[in-house]
Every structure is written in C-alpha cells, then in structure tokens.
C-alpha cells in the first residue's frame, strides 16, 4: 500500500497526532496535505540524516527484513538484543513508536488480535536508498565483456504491442474469469519473454495454467491502468494513470514500468527478492559490475540468493545486459533504474520517421504513447533496437470502425513524427478513412461521419508531467473485478480486507512497557542491591520487557541483555544473555557474539535500563 492510500484510510484520531509530529507539523504549510508531506523524499532524506541512530537502525532493519510487506510486530522483536542489530528489544519497541509518530511506519489491528506493521510501499524504496545503499565499485569504463546477452528492445515495446493486440480484438474470459488458453497462448507467442525468465506470479487458480508471459502482460496492463475488465472480457482502455504513463518520455516510462513490475512480481512476504531488486537500482547504468561483488554487497543472504532470478528477468525484459569478462560474470543496466538520475530526453530523438512508402522508423527513444497510437494505425514489421511499422489499410479501417476519424489519425501521426505527413501517407489515409469501394452506381461511398472525438482511442494524451497515480487500480473492487474473484484481491494485496488502522497515539514513555508504572521506581532509576529473589524478579521483568540491565559484577559495571533465566544444578539460577558496550556517539549496543551465563550470586547491584528514561530528549528533529 502506498502512503496516499494509507492516509486516506486513517481515522481522524490518527491523523491528528500525525499532523502534530515533529517531522511533519512544519511541512504542512501552504496547503500541503499530510500524505504529500509524509511521502516527500526530501523529508525522508532529512530524517535519515538527523534521526537518532536507534530509529534509523530500526527502520533499516524493517526495510531489510520485510520490505514493503506488512509484518507482525512479534517477528521484529527477536532481533532486539542480538547481533548485528544490537539495540535491545525495549529500545526496538520504542523505536517503532517513534517511527509511527513520524509517519514512517503504520500499524494495523487485525480482528483476531494480531497487529501488523508496515512501511508504505512508495516510501520503502526511498528508505532503502537512504539507509541501505548498495555500495559496489563498477569495472573500469571500457571493460570488455564476451557473450553479452541482452534483449534488443525493452519490455515496454513488447507490452504496448501485446496491449494493442487486445485493443484490436479484446480478450474473452472463460466462465472462471481467466483468458481462454488459445488466446493466452497467442498473446504469449507474440512476446519475446520466456516463461522461465519470469518470477512466479500471484494469480487466482484459474489463471495458473496460462503462459507466464501472457499473464505478465495482463497483470502489468492492469497495474499500469491500460487494461480493465469489461464483463466477460478484458479490454484495453487506458485510464488516467495509464494515459499519464503513455505521455512520459521513453526513459521515465521504462523506469515506471520497472517499478510496476517489481510491485507486481515481488510478492508480499519475499523481502529478499524485493531488497535485491531495489538494491540493484543503485547501480549506475551502462557500467559493468561483477556479479560476485554485487552478491557480497547485498545487505542480506536472502537478497543475494534472490538476486539471480530477478536479474534473469531484468535481462529478459531488456533492462539489463549480462556478460562475462576476465574477472567473471558481470552485468549492467541498459536503462536508467534510478529516478533521481533520470535526465531529460534529447530533443528530436523521441520522434519516429514517417517515410513516403508508409513505413515508420521508430527509434528506441520514442515514448510509449507514440507507439500506442502508431499501433492503432500500423502493423509492426520488425522489432529490434529500432522498430519498423507500416501504416496499414486494415489497421486504419479498424480504427475508423472504432471511432477514429481521418483528422485524428493525421494528427496522431504528425504528433508522433513531429512533421507534416508525407504526401503518400496523406493520400493513403484519405483512401482508407474514406474507405468503401465503389457501389453499384459507380460512385464512391460517402465518407464516414466523424465520430465524437472522445470515443476515439486517439484523443490527445496529457502533455503535462503528471504523477502516475495508482488510486484507481489499487481499488479493491477493481482488483477483484479484473480477476473475477473477490478473494484474489486479498491474495494479491497481502494486507487483505477487514483492516483497521491503529489510531492510538504512539507511546513514548514507560507506559510502553506493561507494568512499568507498577514496579518500584528504584528498579528503573539506579542500580541497587537486592535480595536474590528480588534480583530474579528484576531480571525476569527485564526479560519480559526485553530491556537491558545495568549491573555490577566483581566491582565492574556491565551492561547486559538478559535472554532467559536458567535453573542451575544447585537449586539456584543464572541468567543467560549478552554483555554489551555502547558505541561512542551513537550509543548503539555492541553485543557479545555469543551469550554468556551470569550466576545469580555474581550479580551485585542492578537496575533495568529502559530507553525512554535515557534518550527521550534526542528523539526530535534538530530545528
């Protein structure tokens, strides 16, 4: 789910304390909405720079472990008090509250009692870039690779052609709501991607036997907003978001498609794959990197393991190239994968050339919108780095039957080519849009009347630079409608229906720890000597809160994270846990690699270290 969608669902109570958060209040001036403020990458960058290390490390841990997938808080808790994370469980718990206060993490209450946390999907990628950047050195420029293996053209070209085929003839669905096998096979046969190059797709059972490339075209068509369900068929009817995508320059459109593909293909619950996919986007385009270096640099083993399958997909999608050199297997991006590095398109290269022989030479920089319009009027003859189309009588007549006028066709071609039409093209269009052979009286048929402009697929696409909004397509009803079964939405979404957001304000005091107000204050204030049974109670309380202990042993002070109390053979007890020291500056606990046991009798004075008491003042932005 994205920030905007979450904010739209939050109850008023939650909105109130979010608006007042120290990292938010100052950004709501000048009519800016809460969602805009929370989704602002510059806010995220400032937060990452100035936030306390505890909160930053916790957020990095969440992004690394779970990505944008919702997760039960209990799955996070065990990370506390262990290397490499280091911070105690109690500190981790406080950090989650801080992240909620700052509108970075949101909490969902489920009806059956469990609670889920999540980082909005749109911001998860931003946080990953800030907190877990992939640091890999590229090979020198000009490094030579053998056996380079790259698709000649990127995925958007394949998809525009596939969606155009659906626009031409629709796609009938069976009674079970899946495309017919022969139609799906035809769609797949026309696509370059092989099923084995596509990660497993999450679809309803009726769709599972269909070729993966056809399903991918349909899933991405729905995600982008190009395809929608119309009764027992799928139709190609771009919505506003799709029109915005079509209007983007080629490089940006490809990047957005990459993001949609990651959203669609990297299923909730597979953060290793998500992390790998996102991390790879830090690599600079057109620079070779050794695969072994990337695997070492990825933040987790799961990500390193998942990277290979994703890279295979990226290569098949025409977004990455792989090769082998003197130092081993290597790869490089052949599109720009990072929105922050996108450059404006070079003028003039984003137009196709329309020839007098009715062929259109389409270079790779031509945006998808121009191809989409061209596919309505022309037949694709070849697809390589440069595609070749031919304006086609059959296509034009079909376009006319579907409501496109001669003027609209002419405008579309002039728009796409950036030049007046060659005479031969103009004549051909006039011939085809005035259609009709001679009737029996030897007279030409009357030209068709111009249909209402808004019925034509060639109404002008938006020329503004819009934000690609996904509101419509993430609507649950649309989800369910597209696949023909309501519960598909839950399977695909991950969060599922029946959710209510936690409206309770974050707790940044001791009340976060159950019973903290009921224990003797001295347990929390300063180390003291206690009876053995009290010492055990204090230790067990610390274990319950996952908090650290500050204790003296043999005259020296030790910070210690207790994990469990273990009875000893003499009827006493000992506590197993990890001693730690705090890193200068950050205060992050550096824990012993392996747990040790402390005998009860070894423990001198002790207290429970609850984080709120120690760090409250530094959990605010520096203003």
């Amino acid at each position: 789910m994205k920030t905007r969608d979450i904010v739209a669902e939050l109850p008023k109570g939650a909105l109130a304390w979010l608006r007042e958060g120290p990292w938010t209040a100052g950004r709501l001036a000048h009519g800016r909405s809460l969602a805009e403020a929370l989704a602002d990458p510059s806010r995220a960058a400032e937060w990452a720079e100035a936030a306390p290390p505890l909160a930053r490390d916790t957020l990095a841990l969440i992004v690394q472990r779970f990505g944008p997938a919702p997760f039960p808080e209990e799955k996070l808790a065990p990370e506390g008090g262990r290397p490499p994370f280091g911070w105690t469980g109690a500190e981790l718990r406080l950090a989650v509250q801080l992240l909620r206060r700052d509108g970075i993490v949101f909490a969902l209450d489920r009806p059956w009692g469990d609670r889920l946390l999540l980082v909005p999907a749109d911001m998860c990628a931003v946080w990953r870039r800030l907190l877990l950047p992939l640091r890999v050195t590229p090979l020198p420029e000009g490094a030579w690779m053998d056996s380079c293996d790259a698709a000649a053209s990127p995925l958007s070209h394949e998809l525009v052609a596939a969606w155009s085929a659906i626009r031409r003839s629709g796609l009938t669905l069976t009674a079970k709501g899946a495309p017919r096998k022969q139609d799906a096979a035809k769609l797949a046969a026309a696509m370059r991607l092989a099923s084995e190059d596509i990660p497993p797709l999450t679809v309803p059972p009726a769709w599972e036997a269909l070729p993966a490339s056809a399903v991918l075209a349909l899933l991405l068509g729905r995600s982008i907003g190009m395809l929608k369900r119309r009764g027992q068929a799928i139709a190609a009817e771009p919505d506003k978001a799709a029109e915005a995508w079509l209007a983007l320059p080629a490089a940006e459109a490809e990047l957005r498609l990459l993001e949609q593909a990651a959203d669609s293909l990297l299923a909730a619950g597979a953060p290793g794959a998500w992390l790998a996919a996102e991390s790879l986007r830090d690599l600079a385009p057109m620079r070779w990197y050794l695969a072994a270096d990337i695997a070492k640099a990825l933040p987790t083993k799961e990500a390193a393991g998942a990277a290979e399958a994703w890279i295979r997909f990226l290569r098949a999608a025409g977004w990455m190239e792989t090769g082998s050199g003197a130092e081993g297997a290597a790869l490089r991006w052949i599109i720009e994968p990072n929105p922050g590095r996108l450059m404006a398109s070079a003028d003039g290269y984003d137009r196709y050339e329309l020839m007098p022989d009715l062929e259109a030479i389409v270079p790779p920089e031509v945006p998808p919108g121009a191809r989409w319009e061209l596919e309505l009027l022309a037949r694709r003859l070849s697809e390589d780095v440069v595609a070749v189309y031919r304006i086609d009588a059959g296509a034009c007549r079909r376009a006319q039957a579907d409501g496109t006028s001669l003027e609209q066709a002419r405008s579309a071609l002039e728009r796409g080519s950036g030049a007046p039409l060659p005479g031969a093209v103009d004549i051909a269009l006039r011939d085809w849009f005035h259609a009709a052979p001679a009737n029996s009286a030897g007279q030409p048929a009357r030209p068709s009347e111009t249909p209402p402009p808004d019925k034509s697929p060639l109404r002008v696409l938006s020329v503004e630079r819009p934000i690609v909004r996904r509101d419509e397509s993430h609507d649950e009803a649309t989800h369910g409608d597209f696949f023909g079964c309501a519960d598909a939405a839950a399977r695909i979404d991950g969060a599922g229906p029946a959710r209510s957001w936690d409206a309770k304000a974050p707790i940044l005091s001791r009340r976060l720890y159950p019973g903290a107000d009921g224990v003797p204050p001295g347990w929390l204030r300063q180390p003291a000597a206690y009876h053995a049974s009290t010492r055990k109670e204090i230790v067990e309380r610390a274990i319950g809160w996952r908090a650290g202990l500050r204790l003296s042993k043999d005259g020296a002070w030790i910070d210690f994270v207790p994990e469990r109390v273990v009875p000893d053979e003499h009827g006493g007890w000992r506590v197993r846990g990890r001693p730690f020291v705090r890193e200068a500056g950050s205060g992050k606990p550096v824990l012993a690699e392996n747990p040790v046991d402390l005998e009860a009798l070894e423990i001198g004075t002790l207290m429970i270290s609850l984080p709120e008491a120690e760090h409250a003042e530094i959990y605010r932005p520096i203003t």
Binding site: M355, P356, D357, L358, A393, L421, P422, G423, A424, D426, I427, A428, R430, D431, A436, P437, A438, N439, S440, A441, G442, P444
Partner: protein, 419 residues
C-alpha cells in the same frame, strides 16, 4: 578461403573509339568494388604459372534501369580477361548483350556465342537464357545442355536480372564452384521475400547506386511519376462488386475507360515517343486497335519483335503497346513516356522495370514521364501503392490525379498533396 579458378584466359580490351568512352565513373566503381585490385594480377598469374589466382570477386551490382549494367559486366570481363558465361532472362536480352559485346570490346564474332532455343553456340563468351539451362530432356530427366557448360573452363558467370534467378539454375551453376559470379539487377526485391537468397547464391551486394544519385548526375533521365485514378463505368463497377475476389483485379485492370486516358496522355505528349504497357493481352489488343498502336507480345517471333523495336528506335513509330516483355531488358533508348495500363498485382520489381524502360538519358536532355492508370475505389489502388514502394524508397514521388467524369481535367489532383 576457397580457391577461385581464373578460368581460361581470354585476351580482350574495351574499345575506346567510335563514340565509346569506356566505363562511366560509377560503372568503373562497380567493377572495382566487385574485383578490387584483381584482374591485372590474376592475368599475370595465370599467364606465367599454373598457380590459381587470388580468391574473391563474386557479388551483386545494383544499378537503376538505363544505367548500363551491361557495361559493368563487360568491364568485369575485360578486367579479368577470362572465358565468361552470361545468363539472361530471354532472347531479346541475349541479342542486346551480344550487340554490346561486339560494339564495346575487341572480341571477334567467333569468340561470342548465343545459346538459346534457336542457336547453340558455345564460345569463349557465351550468352544463354535461364530457360535453356533449366530445361530438361536429357537422360533420366537431366539437363541436356549441361555437359557443354561443364566442360568449359569459365572464369566468370554473369547473372543478368539476377533477382529473377531461379533456384534450379543456380543449383546447376553452383557445381562450377571455383568460378566468380556477378549478379546484375536494378531491383533487388522479390515479392516472395527471398531477396536474401541472391546474396547467398551469388555473393554479397558489392555495389549499389541510388537511382536519384544517377539522375542528378545525368546518367539516367529525370522522371516524373503519376498515378491516374480512373473511375469505373457503372456496369463495370457492378461487375466488380459482384465478382469473387480473384476476378476483381482483372476487371479493374481492364477498365475500358483507361483507353481514353491513354489517348489523352499520348496527345499531351505529342512529339515524344511513348510505350503503353499492360498485363492483359485482351486489353492491349483493344487499346492497340482503338489507338492504332503496334503491339509487341511475348509470343511474337523474335525477328518480328526486333523489327518493331528497330522501327521505334529509328523514329518511324511514335508509340508501341507492349505486354510483359516490357518487364525485361528492352532497348528503346528514346522512349520518354510510359503509360502502364495494368500490372501484376503488387510487384514492385515490375513497376521499377517499367519505369526503367524510359530512363535512358534523352538526346535533347529532356525528362521522362511515367503514368500508372489505376481504377478508382478498387483493389488496384492498394496494389499500386505496393508496386510503387520500391521507387518511393528510391526517392520518386507519385502525383496522384483523378480522371474526371468528362475527362476534361486530367490535371486535377485527387488529393491536396502528392505521394
């Protein structure tokens, strides 16, 4: 690299007197591209030793109609100085090659032979038709003529109009492995999409000169191209509408109103020599009768055909009607107007070949005019669009005009812009 045999040496030279100036620059460039520095070295080698000559020297040369591809072939023969087999589509072409060889080189009559249905002369330079090489009739259905060619030590095989090269002919001549091959054509396009086979069978494209470049340099005439859309009469339109698809092209092609258009165009080009070219013999006979034009067809005896061509070339005939023989090498250098009244479906090569009939530079420096008559609102419009594609790619632009009901405004364009 395979060893190419030099072939039996044949001393000859190009004549440079009697109005002949040798090869034009682009023709020389074509020979050089094909043979490189070979030729002189090869002759020296074969003269002095039995060692084989350097390899290489096979390929295709693409030049517009009227640009003198024959001269490229003759230039290659002169450079290599070896026995040569020339294969052409028909006997008219055979006659033209022999005429040019006699005129342009120092070869004697006893060194040049024609191998056709009528004549069987195997000589150091032999010009044969594709048909005679692919005909069967020998033992067990083999080619009866083949041994005559196999026994000769050819150094070069020239395939004239190589785009027409039938595969069986190539398979046969491929047995002459160590021989250089030169393919000549103006239009390396085939409607079956097998242009690439020519490269595989003969060799890569060694040289191509764009039509418009040679036009600008004055080596071929400047040509204007027009498509005239002729309406069908009501009864004809009705027959067209009612006919099955495969019969429609003939009805459209034989549109009777085309005759009046031909008459008007010939009148418009009074004083210029013209060709009227068509696909359908009935139509051509009708036009020939109505307009009093001599008709040349493929089944006419060669001598009779040549006689009409000669009269046309001498200026005794102002116009000729031609059937598909006009698709091939027909030497009518002063023809300045061609009116195509019907054609074979979407054949780009045929369209280009027909334009090629009028592209020889004119003595008065004037241009040429090509008209393609197309029945309006019929499939002929689409076929025409396809036919014109090669020429459009070469830079030619077709002015599309509509023949009006009263025939009085043939200049009125069908659309605001031209193709």
């Amino acid at each position: 690299m395979p060893v190419i045999e030099a072939g039996e040496p044949l001393p000859l030279a190009l004549r440079s007197s009697g109005g002949l100036t040798g090869l034009r620059d682009y023709q020389q460039a074509a020979v050089d591209a094909l043979l490189g520095g070979e030729g002189e070295a090869a002759r020296a080698a074969t003269a002095e030793s039995t060692a084989p000559a350097a390899a290489g020297g096979s390929g295709v040369v693409v030049l517009p109609c009227g640009a003198g591809k024959t001269w490229v072939g003759i230039g290659a023969i002169a450079r290599l100085g070896c026995e040569t087999l020339i294969l052409t589509p028909n006997t008219v072409s055979v006659t033209q090659w022999i005429r040019e060889l006699r005129r342009a080189t120092t070869l004697g009559d006893d060194q040049i032979g024609a191998y056709t249905g009528d004549r069987k002369e195997v000589r150091p330079v032999t010009v044969a038709t594709y048909q005679v090489l692919s005909s069967r009739g020998g033992e067990r259905g083999t080619n009866a003529h083949w041994p005559l060619f196999q026994d000769r030590n050819w150094g070069l095989i020239i395939y004239d109009e190589v785009h027409l090269l039938p595969a069986p002919v190539f398979r046969l001549t491929a047995e002459l492995q160590a021989t250089r091959r030169l393919g000549l054509t103006a239009t390396l396009v085939r409607e079956d999409g097998r242009e690439g086979d020519v490269f595989a069978l003969v060799g890569p494209k060694a040289y191509e000169a764009p039509w418009k470049s040679l036009e600008e340099a004055g080596w071929i005439a400047e040509a204007s191209c027009s498509e005239v859309r002729v309406p069908l009469e009501p009864d004809c339109a009705e027959r067209y509408a009612d006919a099955p698809a495969r019969a429609r092209s003939r009805i459209a092609g034989e549109n009777p109103r085309k005759a009046e258009v031909v008459r008007a165009l010939l009148a418009r080009h009074e004083g210029e020599q013209a060709l009227v070219i068509g696909q359908y013999l009935d139509q051509l006979r009708r036009v020939s009768r109505e307009l009093g034009l001599p008709l040349v067809t493929g089944d006419m005896p060669h001598g009779e055909r040549q006689a009409l061509f000669d009269r046309f070339n001498r200026g005794e005939l102002r116009a000729l009607a031609l059937s598909k023989v006009a698709n091939f090498a027909v030497d009518l250098p002063d023809a300045a107007v061609a009116v195509q009244i019907s054609g074979s479906f979407g054949s780009r090569q045929e369209e280009a070949q027909r334009l090629g009939r009028i592209l020889r530079p004119k003595a008065d420096g004037g241009g040429a005019s090509f008209y393609s008559l197309v029945s309006e609102h019929t499939d002929e419009v689409e076929y025409a669009r396809r036919r014109q594609r090669f020429l459009v790619q070469q830079g030619y632009r077709y002015e599309v005009r509509r023949w009006t009901e009263d025939g009085s405004a043939a200049d009125r364009p069908a659309a605001e812009s031209s193709r």
